[in-house]
């Protein structure tokens, strides 16, 4: 009996080894020639979407709603979209991408940073398929023509939400529940702080990291600690409404991200900075239909409606907020206001952006790159 099992196992191993050899053959290097897109009729388009979570949270929901709206505008039926939800940033992702490509999708989107490495791995095998990774950064530097990155100039909306917070604060102390010490997060809270400072020069800000993108209990503890420290407006780069509800129960105010927090905390949520992913999806799918090449890096902001502020909670925002936000918005759109306008100093007093100059975020890639902590911001832990 034991021998028989052993024989079976050996046969299995051999079979697997053969299969592995077969896989190697298809690993031909990409030439880039095959990636010239040709026009695909809207009715023939097959779209794949890889999600890090599912529609239960605001981040993934925004992507799904965005792509569905884009498809509706372009006359693409919902059945032409295949969604793979809850795809972790590991080998599962490679399998999910391959499945979508094998299923005949001509364009595949993924919505998490860690998905990109697997896209880059699969992309050479399917030169006819376009691979688009949100928040990724390697497309411009890799050798592949069929990989693309996309993001939005969220720092513009963060700046505007900072204006709202700067006018509201009485203690001149803002708090920020941050997820992880990455450039994407730092760029966001720096823009938020600079927006607040543009209307309130005395404002300072405290930042605490949760080290999780989504952990409601930690976000709440974090927000409570910031409020205990004297912050009366708390903003966040994290996924849940916990900071907003914590602010409400502790008599503070909140500025949200990704989702409108007013239903969860009607007495505290002032406004939220949001990304409208539909703008990119409509653009990229439009390219597929017209046969135009999708750019390697795509990043748009207020001007293209790719980012926006959710409706202000007019009952509780400070007087004059509507005008101040409108003024800042016009300035950002016509270029008279630069978010990262010099002079900016780091916490040691060294100049990081010189007077009269402005740092251009998203110039080199669609992913944010600002990672300096400037004076006025205290990172606690």
């Amino acid at each position: 009996m034991k021998k028989r099992i052993l024989a079976l196992l050996l046969a299995l191993v051999m079979g697997l080894a053969l299969a592995a050899c077969g896989g190697d053959k298809s690993d031909t290097p990409a030439t880039g020639e095959g990636s010239e897109t040709k026009a695909i009729a809207a009715g023939d388009l097959k779209i794949g979407l890889i999600l890090i979570g599912d529609e239960a949270d605001a981040y993934n929901k925004n992507h799904v709603e965005g792509i569905k709206a884009a498809m509706q505008n372009l006359g693409i039926a919902e059945s032409q979209l295949q969604i793979k939800a809850n795809v972790a940033e590991n080998a599962d992702c490679e399998a999910a991408i391959t499945e979508l490509a094998e299923a005949g999708c001509q364009v595949i989107f993924s919505n998490s940073f860690g998905h990109e490495q697997y896209m880059v791995k699969v992309a050479p095998d399917y030169p006819q398929v376009q691979f688009c990774a949100a928040t990724g950064f390697v497309s411009a530097s890799d050798e592949l023509d069929n990989t693309h990155n996309y993001f939005a100039r969220i720092y513009e909306a963060r700046y505007l939400s900072g204006v709202v917070a700067g006018l509201k604060t009485q203690t001149n102390k803002l708090g920020y529940v941050a997820a992880k010490p990455y450039a994407e997060v730092i760029s966001g809270y720096t823009a938020f702080y600079l927006g607040a400072k543009s209307v309130n020069p005395n404002v300072e800000m405290y930042v605490n990291y949760t080290n999780e993108w989504s952990d409601p209990a930690k976000e709440a503890t974090n927000a409570k600690a910031l409020i205990d420290r004297g912050c009366d407006v708390v903003s966040q780069h994290s996924d849940t409404s916990a900071p907003a509800t914590t602010a409400q129960e502790n008599g503070a105010f909140a500025v949200g991200y990704n989702a409108d927090m007013i239903p969860a905390a009607p007495k505290a949520a002032l406004v939220s900075a949001r990304i409208n992913w539909g703008v990119y999806y409509e653009y990229a799918l439009g390219c597929m239909i017209s046969g135009e090449a999708i750019p390697q890096d795509w990043c748009e902001g207020l001007a293209e409606d790719a980012v926006y502020l959710s409706d202000l909670n007019e009952a509780i925002v400070a007087p004059g907020t509507i005008d101040a936000v409108e003024k800042a918005k016009v300035g950002l759109m016509d270029g008279t206001i630069q978010v990262f306008q010099g002079p900016l100093y780091d916490t040691n007093g060294t100049v990081v952006v010189e007077d009269g100059k402005a740092y251009q975020e998203n110039e080199k890639s669609s992913a944010p790159a600002w990672d300096k902590i400037i004076k006025g911001i205290t990172v606690l832990s």
Partner: protein
């Protein structure tokens, strides 16, 4: 000093959900049942309580806060108790493997709560499953008069908490008295140590196991309710996807940390709760925050090692923990 008071207060607030979970599991394990489904039952308790208060608010034009809070607690305990009841039927009557059943209960409870939380939220006109402001305040506001809360230092530390905090400590005292100073408590411990002997002495083993497991589950469920309703370490009266993530497992570990003693559970939960919020109140610039985050777990591990080295008779698990009792095999 101001910061110290804030830190200790936040620590106490973070203690209560753990304490509910631990006390429930201690009661369960004292009957010889190892229910690994605490996480699932906390989820069920959380969603049950939230839905109870939510539907009560919808059903009447003039909702009474007191009734809403009472209903939240009742529904929470019933819902979590139901999870524990399923576990009891499977493990006590059908004698299924307790570890596997507990894990299944966790998976079931998490799915159950997220499903109903999101389904009800989707049906709400505001697309959110939230309780009214008065109910939130009842779960978060102090129960003592403001004059007492304003006593310097001690006022905030002792009298500023919500009723659930005091309820959890009261529960620990009651459970301690019950287990070690009552006849029924003695019987229960006998069932957990050696059910055959208890059976021979005329104790109804099955009944004791059922009641202890279901009641234990219901108490654990209150921890979930606390996390859903509390705004200092929870989500403040709104359903958030996966909002109890991990607390149930911490509770299971803390049962061992507190060596199955309800009074020690208060201390252990307090140490754990305090250490878990310490990073936000006493940041140390040269310790990476990810390292700081593991201090509570590290402390637990060190204490467990120390306890197991001492190896005293008092710090042992109930002898028949995790074993099904089959009368015919006596």
């Amino acid at each position: 000093m101001h910061n110290l008071v804030n830190f200790l207060t936040a620590g106490i607030l973070a203690t209560a959900p753990l304490l509910f979970g631990v006390l429930g599991e201690i009661l369960t394990e004292k009957s010889g049942n190892l229910n690994l489904g605490v996480e699932g039952m906390m989820f069920m308790g959380g969603i049950g309580g939230l839905l109870g208060a939510y539907y009560y608010g919808l059903s009447t034009d003039t909702p009474s806060t007191f009734v809403a809070v009472l209903l939240a607690i009742l529904c929470s305990m019933l819902c979590a108790g139901f999870g524990a009841f399923l576990f009891s039927v499977l493990t006590i009557t059908l004698r299924a493997n307790q570890n596997v059943t507990g894990l299944a209960l966790t998976i079931f409870g998490v799915g159950f709560a997220n499903f109903f939380g999101e389904a009800v939220a989707a049906s709400d006109p505001n697309r959110v499953l939230a309780v009214s402001e008065s109910v939130r305040n009842a779960f978060n506001g102090p129960i003592f008069p403001p004059a007492m809360v304003q006593i310097p230092f001690l006022g905030k530390l002792l009298f500023s908490h919500n009723f659930m905090v005091y309820l959890s400590i009261l529960l620990a005292l009651v459970l301690s008295l019950f287990l070690y100073h009552s006849r029924k408590g003695l019987n229960l411990r006998a069932v957990g140590e050696n059910p055959a002997t208890a059976d021979a002495a005329g104790v109804n083993v099955t009944l004791y196991k059922y009641v202890a497991t279901c009641l234990g589950g219901a108490i654990s469920g209150l921890g979930g309710l606390y996390l859903v309703m509390n705004a200092a370490c929870g989500v403040g009266g709104v359903w958030v996807h996966n909002c109890i993530d991990g607390y149930g497992w911490l509770a299971v570990a803390l049962v061992i940390f507190s060596v199955w003693s309800p009074s020690r559970a208060v201390l252990c939960s307090l140490v754990f709760g305090g250490l878990s919020v310490m990073r936000y109140y006493y940041p140390v610039s040269w310790i990476p925050s990810t390292i700081y985050d593991i201090i509570p777990y590290l402390t637990t591990a060190v204490v467990l090692i120390a306890v197991s080295i001492r190896n005293s008779r008092q710090s042992q698990p109930p002898e028949s923990l995790g074993l099904a009792y089959f009368r015919e095999e006596r």
